[in-house]
């Protein structure tokens, strides 16, 4: 029963679909099941040999995902080496080089199990028929979703930015616009109206820098509860309302605003 004779991906009638594995841990769990070994007492040499066979296939087929698999191969070999080395004195008897890997495998297995449960739930939910509301998906008078997220805001912001015309001529000028300006501008905007759409706030911002600063000012005002943002349903237009502290005096330091500015730039970058 030599495993060398196993025709993994070699013969035409037995091909392994590499795409079915979610990563090295998934592949290892598959091999543990296939080889019928104990997850808490993995025969490293045997599993590593099997593992390398698959990894050779993966590297041949898809270099992009191969890195993670190769890293795990190195880990396996290091574990085996450690197990072969005689134990130095003073080292605990109970120390098992496999421990970390086993813990990771068991942890991953739990969530794999949980994902199966979720899959079943989704199927049951799909069988459940919810009749459409007679009122229909209209924008309700009351905003049902106060939990407008930063993601929603940044998405809306990106839409505004794509609408802002970029100037075709190059003239280096100095744009005098500060966050304080725009904060003041926004507060004045809401002086005699309680609500505005996100896009209305940017109607007077033909230049990119003005839109950017307006957005930062909006975030600052939302943070200090002087304005608040809502949606009626997910993906609906973001609407801006006066916040609970709208009438509070504006006396935040510049440092706070600068901090917010950095975070926004980071967030936008991360989301791209």
């Amino acid at each position: 029963m030599s495993i060398e004779n196993e025709p993994i991906g070699v013969s035409s009638d037995y091909r392994v679909d590499i795409g079915v594995f979610q990563g090295p841990l998934d592949l290892l769990l598959f091999l543990i099941r296939k080889e019928e070994v104990d997850i808490y007492n993995i025969p490293i040499a045997k599993i590593t040999r099997q593992y390398l066979k698959y990894v050779n296939l993966i590297t041949a087929l898809d270099l992009e995902v191969a890195g993670e698999y190769i890293l795990m191969a190195a880990t396996l070999i290091r574990i085996k080496t450690k197990m072969l080395l005689p134990r130095t004195e003073g080292e605990e008897d109970t120390f098992d080089p496999r421990e970390e890997l086993i813990m990771a495998l068991v942890e991953y297995k739990k969530f794999k199990e949980a994902s199966e449960i979720l899959r079943d739930r989704a199927l049951i939910e799909e069988q459940t028929y919810v009749p459409p509301s007679p009122v229909g998906k209209v924008e309700s008078k009351v905003d049902l979703m106060p939990a407008t997220t930063l993601f929603d805001l940044v998405s809306a912001y990106k839409q505004v930015m794509s609408g802002v015309r970029s100037e075709t001529f190059h003239q280096v000028g100095f744009e005098e616009v500060s966050i304080e300006d725009r904060v003041g501008h926004l507060l004045v905007f809401f002086k005699d109206k309680e609500m505005a759409t996100f896009y209305e706030l940017f109607a007077d911002a033909p230049k990119k820098i003005v839109a950017v600063v307006t957005f930062i000012a909006l975030l600052e005002l939302v943070r200090s509860h002087r304005l608040t943002v809502m949606q009626s349903v997910p993906f609906a237009e973001v609407r801006v309302y006066r916040g609970e502290r709208y009438f509070d005096r504006l006396d935040e330091g510049e440092a706070v605003i600068a901090g917010i500015q950095d975070e926004v730039v980071e967030t936008v970058e991360e989301m791209e």
Partner: protein
Amino acid sequence: MEHGTPHAIVEALILASPEPIESKKIAESIEGMTVAKVATMVSELNDKYTQGASAFRIREIAGGFQFHIIPEYTGYVEDLFTRRRKMRLTQAALETLAIVAYRQPITKSEVEHVRGVASDGVIHNLLEKSMITIKGRAKGVGKALQYGTTDEFLKFFGLNDLDALPRMSEIEELVRAAEDRRQTELRLENVAATEAMSMKLNVADGTFDPASREEEELIEVETEETEAI
């Protein structure tokens, strides 16, 4: 049970709401109503529907009430109306969602640590599908974004809240039980093989030799394990 006006109002609000409606919202719309009373009324309404053999019930999902047609009748509905196709989630997406659901708030690198693979794409996808959302920033170096599940997530999986998910300890139990069962089976096989081996030793004349194959295999497995790689 009585069929006073408040019951009908509760019914009307739930029926008309395009999204699951919170009991708090219902309570606010009716004078002298409390959240607890709304819950009682909903269960009384459901009793009434059951008694009247109605095709629908009110259920609690994502923290709100909603009408739905009970499974016995969905078949008829689907025969008549084309099925709205729900989006399918990939295995990667399901795994990631499971991790986020149980560990939220959680950063991308923490997700990747559990999965053992890069997860930028799948996280971005889940964000776009509104299954997860940014919940804040982690303390420490880099202040990484933390993610959590949304009401959309609850609705997609038919959950009222996160407590409706099976406890992690139950899943651990499930995994351990499956592993134990597998190990017991393996041990039994080994015992059977050993017994057969000793039986062979007892049979001196060599006419009865049912275990020679297993014996060879056992030895081979042992040598394999001691081999260096």
